[in-house]
């Protein structure tokens, strides 16, 4: 505790970095996963291959990705942009299936009614399918948020500063206060992201509460 108080400024800076490196990819990944999930959902023959391919991305070890990306992107090894790209890839890997599942969770009679009322492809996606998929997508987003917070800490090994620094430094120098602070800060950050997502979901889905919490 005393360690944490002595290094408060440092911790807050790293927490800010960590939030940025984990949070921005969440948004970018969702934006990429939405059209992919939509495509997977509307094209049956593409669904299996698309979801398997994106799902496999998640199995790439993060350290390998952090090291490989600079040579692919032509960026410097210490550039935080590498981390952003890597985390976006992991988010896409988790969310593409979620988006596809969310879209296919829409009640067939609701979809049928939308078609019969003259909703065309994109209009239907925007006005009916996507809003109704929000609860499922939000659930996936929460998993991705926790996963991102956890993976970002590895970026310490390639010299991008965030809360992971506390874990590595605390471990190397056997400073238990620092190590503990790093763990607690990561958990708190994950919790905050989770609460933000929940609040956003709540605002977007007043109708879920109307039916007693069932999506």
């Amino acid at each position: 505790m005393s360690w944490a108080l002595d290094h408060l400024g440092d911790i807050l800076f790293r927490a800010g970095q960590h939030a940025w490196l984990a949070g921005l990819p969440l948004v970018l990944g969702l934006l990429i996963a939405m059209p992919l999930g939509w495509l997977a959902n509307r094209t049956p023959w593409l669904r299996a291959s698309l979801l398997t391919t994106t799902g496999l991305l998640y199995t790439i070890p993060s350290l390998a990705l952090f090291i490989l990306l600079p040579s692919i992107l032509g960026t410097k090894i210490l550039d935080p942009f590498n981390v952003i790209v890597a985390m976006t890839i992991y988010t896409v890997a988790l969310l593409t299936r979620t988006v596809a599942d969310g879209l296919s969770s829409v009640d067939p009679s609701t979809r049928q009614a939308a078609i019969a009322m003259g909703y065309g492809g994109f209009a239907r996606f925007r006005a009916v399918d996507l809003p109704l998929a929000v609860p499922v997508i939000a659930a996936g987003l929460r998993v991705a948020a926790v996963s991102n917070v956890s993976i970002v800490s590895v970026a310490t090994l390639i010299g991008v500063s965030q809360l992971g620094d506390l874990l590595v430094d605390g471990y190397n120098r056997v400073i238990w206060g620092e190590l503990l602070t790093g763990i607690v800060a990561c958990v708190l950050l994950a919790l905050v992201l989770d609460l933000v997502i929940q609040a956003g979901t709540r605002a977007l889905t007043p109708w879920v509460r109307a039916q007693g919490g069932r999506p």
Binding site: P44, D107, P108, S109, T110, R111, Q112, A113, A114, I115, A116, M117, G118, Y119, G120, V128, P131, L132, T205, P206, W207, A210, Q211, G212, R214
Partner: protein, 424 residues
């Protein structure tokens, strides 16, 4: 509601329409990936269907599952593309129309209503007008009118569909389909998923609404009773999508074209056909009554084994057995099996009232619900016989009225769709 013949323009016309699944070249994938009725591959769902749904009338498509009735319905708004043949709406070939424009001009009501769960009731109803570019305020005003018109409390407008009962959701579904005032409505088993009591309410209100609005309606059901009750004309389809018979409900019951139709139309056809009987006026017997709350002495003073009890407004409440009355007449003493026919009801309702009455005297009430008199089955049967004789002679009964005495009321069975209400 009566079947008007001849001069009407034809709003929906099927000409040689066939829908084949599986082996058909192209066109077998539907926008929602479904295959309608009859899911197996390389099968004919609808076979060379030629049918006209006249303007302002209800045409019911009825048949067992796999008869292609839903496929037929969905081909009208091109949810399903016909393999061959043409479908025209108001003289325009639907294949040449812009699909969104076509669909927005046709009201569509389905089983389970298919409401948008993420939109409030009023927003659901506003959907099509908003798609057509109507302003928010105007669409809302119109939606609120419709919500009241289909019998919903305006306070429900702010609720979400999940907060409504199945029957209420179905009403919203009807209001939503009516929102842009389309001349044509497609209804796919709209009342199948609600319980029988609510279903009958919805059916009756639907008929009331239709008598005000006069839409051209294509209505799909698997329930022949619903078909006969709601249809101006009924198309019976057999498995494989072949039209077996197209006729008025009365004609269908009286004269099924083959064994399939006869079997599908079901038993008690003779009795059920009386729903459409245009009966002559009949004389009713005056019935001595007691009011609820009368003493056992009042009941015995009448001197009949069964005595009819009425409420404060003179409305029939039910029969009491004189021998069983040992205190004042209360609701729990009433026999509840008897039905009440209405003076504006059918011969069927009259006969049923007589048959279901423990006294053998059928209770007849006026449109205001007050008791008018009673009639026995023996008195109804001659009216049925007279009608048959008149039909055979090829004319409508002229109504040879029996001399109405001063203490007798008259009854006329006209409106075919009014069902008897159960005596309370």
């Amino acid at each position: 509601m009566s079947a008007r013949a001849g001069t009407l323009t034809c709003m929906i016309r099927f000409e040689g329409v066939t829908k084949r699944y599986g082996d058909a070249p192209g066109g077998s994938r539907e926008p929602d990936g479904s295959r309608g009725d009859g899911g197996d591959t390389a099968s004919v769902a609808v076979d060379n269907l030629t049918l006209e749904a006249p303007t302002g009338q209800i045409t019911v498509l009825v048949g067992p599952s796999g008869c292609g009735k839903t496929t037929t319905l969905r081909m009208v708004n091109r949810m399903i593309t016909p393999t061959s043949g043409t479908i025209s709406v108001d003289g325009r070939d639907t294949a040449t129309m812009d699909v969104a424009e076509l669909r927005r001009g046709i009201g569509y009501v389905i089983q389970h209503a298919g409401l948008f769960p993420h939109r409030t009731v009023v927003d659901n109803v506003m959907t099509v007008p908003r798609l057509l570019g109507v302003g928010k305020r105007e669409a809302r005003t119109r939606a609120m009118e419709l919500i009241e018109r289909v019998g919903l409390d305006p306070a429900m407008a702010r609720r979400y569909p999940a907060q409504l009962s199945g029957g209420q959701q179905q009403r919203v579904g009807v209001a939503r389909a009516l929102a842009s005032d389309p001349p044509v409505m497609l209804m796919d088993e709209p009342f199948s998923a609600v319980d029988p009591v609510v279903r009958e309410q919805l059916q009756n209100e639907f008929l009331r609404l239709q008598s005000e609005l006069g839409k051209t309606i294509l209505f799909v059901t698997h329930d022949i009773d619903e078909a006969v009750k709601l249809g101006d004309q009924v198309a019976v389809l057999r498995v494989g999508g072949v039209l077996a018979q197209l006729a008025s409900p009365a004609k269908l019951l009286a004269d099924p074209v083959d064994d399939f139709v006869a079997g599908f139309v079901g038993r008690d056809r003779g009795y059920r056909a009386l729903s459409f009987a245009d009966a002559p006026e009949l004389s009713l017997a005056d019935e001595p009554t007691v009011r609820l709350g009368s003493t056992s002495d009042d009941v015995r003073a009448i001197g009949a084994p069964w005595v009819l009890a009425v409420g404060d407004e003179g409305e029939p409440m039910g029969w009491v057995r004189s021998a069983a009355v040992d205190r004042e007449v209360t609701r729990d003493l009433l026999h509840r099996g008897g039905t009440v026919a209405s003076t504006s009801g059918s011969l069927r309702a009259l006969l049923d009232a007589a048959l279901s009455s423990p006294s053998g005297r059928g209770v007849v009430a006026g449109d205001d619900g007050r008791l008018v008199g009673t009639i026995t089955a023996a008195e109804v049967v001659p009216a049925i016989e007279a009608r048959r004789a008149a039909d055979t002679a090829g004319r409508v009964p002229a109504g040879g009225r029996p001399s109405a005495e001063a203490d007798e009321a008259t009854v006329r069975a006209g409106e075919p769709t009014t069902e008897e209400a159960t005596a309370r």
